[in-house]
Each structure stands twice: as C-alpha cells, then as structure tokens.
C-alpha cells in the first residue's frame, strides 16, 4: 500500500511514454515515428524545464541554451574526436550540467523577471558566441559525415535507434521529475517556490538547492540535443538556440500544469499535436502562429494552473494519480 502511494503518480506518465514508443512500431509508418519522436523530445525537454519552472518557480526563458550547447559539444566529439553516440550523449549532458552549474551559481541570485531576462541574454550571447567560435564551425556549424551512421547499421537503422533512445530519455526525464518531486530535496524546491525567504528560515539552503534544480533541469536537454542533431546530421547556431523554442517549452508546461509530473507530458503532447494539426490544415496553416497565440492567451487568462492543475482542483479524488 505504501508503495502504491509512493509511485501512483508515475503510472499515467509511464503509460503515455510507453504508448508513444510502441505506436510507430505497431503502425510501422516512418511518418508516425517522426511525429512520435518530436513529441518524445518535447516531453523530455518540458519535463526537465518543469523541475526549474514548476517546482522551484524560476522562469527560464532561455532553457533551450542547454539543448543547443549539449548538442554542439556532442557533435563536436562525434565528428572531430570520433566518439560513439553513447559517450557523446553522456558528454553533452555533462557539459550542459556543468554549464548550468556555473551559470546557476551566478544568475540564480536574480529573482522574478530579472532572472527571466538574464536567461534570454545568456541564450542570445551563447548563440552569438558560437556563431564566432571556429572550433564549432562558426556560422556554418558542424555537419556529420554520412559514414558515421554505418556504425549504427546504416542511416535507416540509426533513425530507428535514435527513436528508441529518445523514448528512453523521455522515460529518464519523467523518472527524474518524479523523484525530485517526491524527495526531500524537491520539498525544499517547492518551499522556495512558495516563499524563498521563509524557506531559508526553515532550513532550506536556497542557493544550493536552486543550483542543483537548474543542473537537473539541464542534463537531459543536453543529451536530447546531441541525439537530435545526430539524427539531423548537422547543427547550426540558429537551429541550436531558437528563442521561440524556449517559449514553446514554457507554453507546454503551462498548458499541462506546472509543478506536476504529468502536466508537462500532457502539455507537450497537446501542443505538438495541435501544432501538427494546424500546420497541415488548409484553413489554419497560414495563421497557425496566431491561433496558437490566441489559445495560449486563453489559457494564461482563464486556466493559469494548466489542465492538470485545474483537474486536481476540481476532482480531489484524482490527486494521487495526477501527481
């Protein structure tokens, strides 16, 4: 019974990811696999962002910087040092984690909108810097040699493998999100979110806790970055640090419900699904951005707690499952 209480919040998230991983295999269509890959990537990124945004209450507007930076480090190691994908992914995640640690000790002193602005500045500074950084190919970026894929059984097989790795990373992100939330460390983060000064008085050492939350939220985006750009075949500054993608992540977390494990997953699913529909529909494809914007406005104005937050509020009996 105790076990059930502890892990009941994990059931739905794991079911969603498992369904996403199995769906393309059953239907056997490559197009389905690509959309499932996009959703899994969004799930992993949004769940990671949620550790900082939802649990700790710090709004990072430039979270995509970890995805881009990790991707760059990984691709550099893959091409120039001929590392394997696994090691490159670990290195990319580690590099993003270290970057988050260094940045976190500095900028997490800022609160509210000042922190949000600083994260935008860091993303833009990083993009502009990589654009001038010759080791990473400057404005043209890094392109993978096609023969790299041979090691992984050819390009087609490599795509298949990347998909399963993405599913694995999404799973890992969810586990991390769940264990942070249920741990004592996570309780400290929630206290910081509610009132940082009071949390400090109660014995939460806020600077450390915030920095570790930042690091935890950066590692998986770094790994996802390596995987995505490996699959993509090349990385350029503009693809690696798109500011609007950071904001899309915020939208996903808001949509599903910040501060819950299931929320970002549902948000990623809904947002990517809606985008896919709008981009392909004849009527909406030209104004899909406006339609997404109007929807976002509705959510921010009327259901700021997101879908899961709203459900938890309305149907208290579901709280255990909708952790």
């Amino acid at each position: 019974m105790k076990l059930w209480h502890r892990y009941s919040g994990l059931i739905l998230p794991i079911l969603v990811v498992a369904a996403l991983a199995i769906w393309p295999t059953i239907t056997g269509k490559a197009a389905n696999r690509e959309s499932a890959f996009t959703i899994l990537k969004a799930v992993a990124l949004a769940s990671s962002l949620n550790i900082l945004l939802g649990y700790t209450g710090y709004v990072s507007f430039g979270h995509i910087v970890f995805y881009g930076f990790g991707g760059y480090v990984g691709l550099y190691l893959l091409t120039e040092q001929e590392w394997s994908l696994w090691n490159a992914m670990l290195a990319g995640g580690l590099a993003s984690g270290i970057l988050a640690f260094l940045l976190g000790t500095a900028i997490l002193r800022l609160r509210g909108a000042y922190f949000a602005l600083a994260t935008i500045g860091i993303n833009e500074a990083m993009k502009a810097f990589i654009n001038n950084f010759d080791l990473f190919g400057g404005p043209t970026g890094i392109t993978l040699n096609f023969s790299v894929y041979k090691l992984y059984g050819g390009a087609a097989q490599a795509l298949q493998t990347s998909f399963y790795i993405a599913a694995g990373l999404a799973f890992l992100a969810i586990l991390l999100s769940h264990f942070v939330r249920t741990s004592k460390f996570g309780l400290g983060l929630l206290a910081i979110r509610e009132n940082e000064d009071a949390a400090e008085v109660m014995g939460v050492f806020a600077p450390n806790a915030k920095t570790w939350a930042y690091v935890f939220s950066a590692i998986i985006p770094g790994m996802i970055g390596v995987l995505f750009f490996f699959k993509n075949g090349n990385v350029e500054p503009h693809d690696a640090f798109p500011l609007h993608a950071s904001i899309e992540l915020l939208v996903m977390v808001m949509l599903g419900g910040q501060g819950t494990v299931l929320g970002p997953i549902l948000g990623a699913f809904a947002y990517q699904g809606m985008r896919g529909y709008l981009v392909t529909s004849d009527f909406f494809k030209d104004i899909q951005l406006s339609v997404s914007g109007a929807l976002l406005l509705m959510i921010v104005l009327f259901i700021p707690a997101g879908a899961i937050g709203w459900l938890r509020h309305r149907v208290p009996t579901l709280r255990r499952v909708l952790a």
Partner: protein
C-alpha cells in the same frame, strides 16, 4: 590610422542610431516601471510601426515624418487594446503569466503579419540628403530620426513631470493602492501607460524604417536591444533608457573598428548579463 578613420565614420552613425534604440527601449522600460510587466509584444509593435511608414509612404507618398502622427495614434490605440485584452487580468499574477500573455500577443501579431505580408524584406525608398561635418558625413534620415527621438524624450519628460495625467502615472508607479485611495482611476492610468509604451515602440519602428530594410520579424532584434538598453539604463527609468541607447549605439559604432562585426551581439549580450548580475538597478538607477 585606418581604424581611426573607420571609427570616425561609424561612431557618429552609431550615436545617432543610439537615440532611436533608446526611444524603443523607453517604451519597454516605461511599462516595466509602472506595472512590472515585461512587454514581449514590443518587437512586433516596432515592426508594425515600420510597416505603417512603408504603406503610407508607398501608397500615398506621405512624408515619413508626417506619417509619424497617425502611427503614434495607432500605437496608442493598439496599446490600449492589448492592455485591456491581455494584460489587465494578469497584472497582479506571477511574472510568468504576464510574460506569456504578452508573448501570446506577440505570436498573434507575428502570425497574422506573416500571413498577410510574408517574411520577405521591405524597404522604404526615402532619403533626406546628407550633411558634411569636416570629414564626417551624416545621413539626413538618421540625423532627423535622432532629433525626433530627442523630441519624443523631451515630450515624455514634460508629460510625466508637468501634466496631471503624467503625475497620475508616476503616482500609480509608486504605489497603486495609495494612488487609488487618492482618487486616481488607476486602471485607466495603467492602460494609458501601456499605450504610451507601445506608442514609443511604434514611433521608433517608423523611424528605423527610414534607414534600414525590415520584415515583420525585424522587431525581434530591436526588442532584444531594448532589453539590453533597459537594463543598462535601469529598468523603469525612461530617461536612463536614452543614455542606455546611446551607450549601445556607441558600442555598435566602436566595436566594428576593432573586431569583426559579428562579435557585436556577443559583447552586447555579455554586457547585458554582467550588468544584470553586478548592478541589476542599471547604470543610472532604476525606479525606487
């Protein structure tokens, strides 16, 4: 020697541009100062100002400096609209709400703009001669733009410090509850402040359109510059924004003489983060 020549040509240009950047940032920082909202729809409104100049100039041949008046009025009206629809409900909510609400306005404008105007570049084919000062040549359009920016700054200053609505704005920025108790209609004053901010954005866009090509997405980079300037001058300090703009303009004039111009954004955003860390109240002090 060559560097000094280069500096002599690019520095005055940078300074003149700096005034216009400062004007755009003033709009952003005014809104922040009064209601603690960072307006992420700032860039698209700058872009709308640019297109205002373009359409009035190319369709009716109206002088771009005359068309500033209808553009300013349009900026005021769209500001009131955005405030009422998107901002008013989230003004006391956590920062994430107001950031996302204004960002959704950004998405709506950009989405419609892209559908109607595409993202291809436009250009206002307008010149106002050039002036020679010794070995330095100043483009007329930039000189007039800098003068207009100064005029608007002076106007804003007079408005805030010498008129009743201006005093109301400062009172609401200082303490909304107390201002309300003194009989100031704070909701209307907040809407007016937001509208003034978007008006400054639209006007600066209209000025930029007279010397740079632009697209519907062009406002984004000026929005980012406005963040940098706002933080340099102290968020919430409109006059500081003008000085911040000048600093940024000078940097853009000086750096290309010594480094490749692609390093400009690295230094700008690096400086931005450093200022946020060591002096979040800006070089000239924020409000309070």
């Amino acid at each position: 020697m060559q560097q000094i020549n280069l500096l002599l040509t690019s520095l005055p240009d940078g300074i003149l541009l700096g005034f216009v950047y400062g004007l755009a940032a003033m709009g952003l920082t005014l809104i922040w100062g009064v209601m603690n909202v960072i307006n992420l729809a700032h860039g698209p409104i700058i872009a709308l100002g640019m297109f205002g100049t373009f359409f009035m100039f190319s369709r009716t041949g109206l002088n771009p400096y005359v068309s500033l008046i209808p553009i300013a009025i349009f900026g005021l009206l769209i500001g009131i609209l955005i405030y009422t629809v998107a901002v008013h409900r989230v003004i006391n909510a956590p920062h994430l709400s107001s950031l996302l609400a204004t960002f959704s306005v950004n998405m709506i404008i950009i989405g419609l703009g892209t559908a109607i105007l595409t993202t291809s570049p436009y250009n206002v084919d307008f010149t106002a001669g050039s002036f020679k000062l010794g070995s330095i040549t100043l483009l007329g359009t930039r000189l007039i733009a800098a003068l207009v920016a100064m005029l608007f700054t002076g106007g804003l200053y007079l408005f805030l410090y010498r008129t009743r609505p201006g005093k109301f704005i400062r009172a609401v920025a200082n303490n909304r509850a107390a201002a309300e108790l003194m009989g100031i209609p704070s909701t209307r004053i907040l809407a007016l402040s937001f509208a003034l901010g978007t008006m400054l954005a639209a006007v600066s866009g209209a000025l930029i359109a007279t010397f740079f090509p632009f697209s519907i997405l062009a406002g984004g980079s000026y929005e980012l510059k406005s963040f940098v300037i706002g933080v340099l001058g102290g968020l919430g300090n409109p006059i500081g924004a003008l000085f911040g703009g000048l600093i940024l303009g000078m940097l853009e004039g000086i750096i290309p003489a010594f480094l490749e111009s692609s390093w400009v954004p690295v230094i700008e955003f690096g400086l931005f983060v450093v200022i946020l860390l060591v002096r979040p109240s800006g070089l000239f002090g924020a409000k309070q």
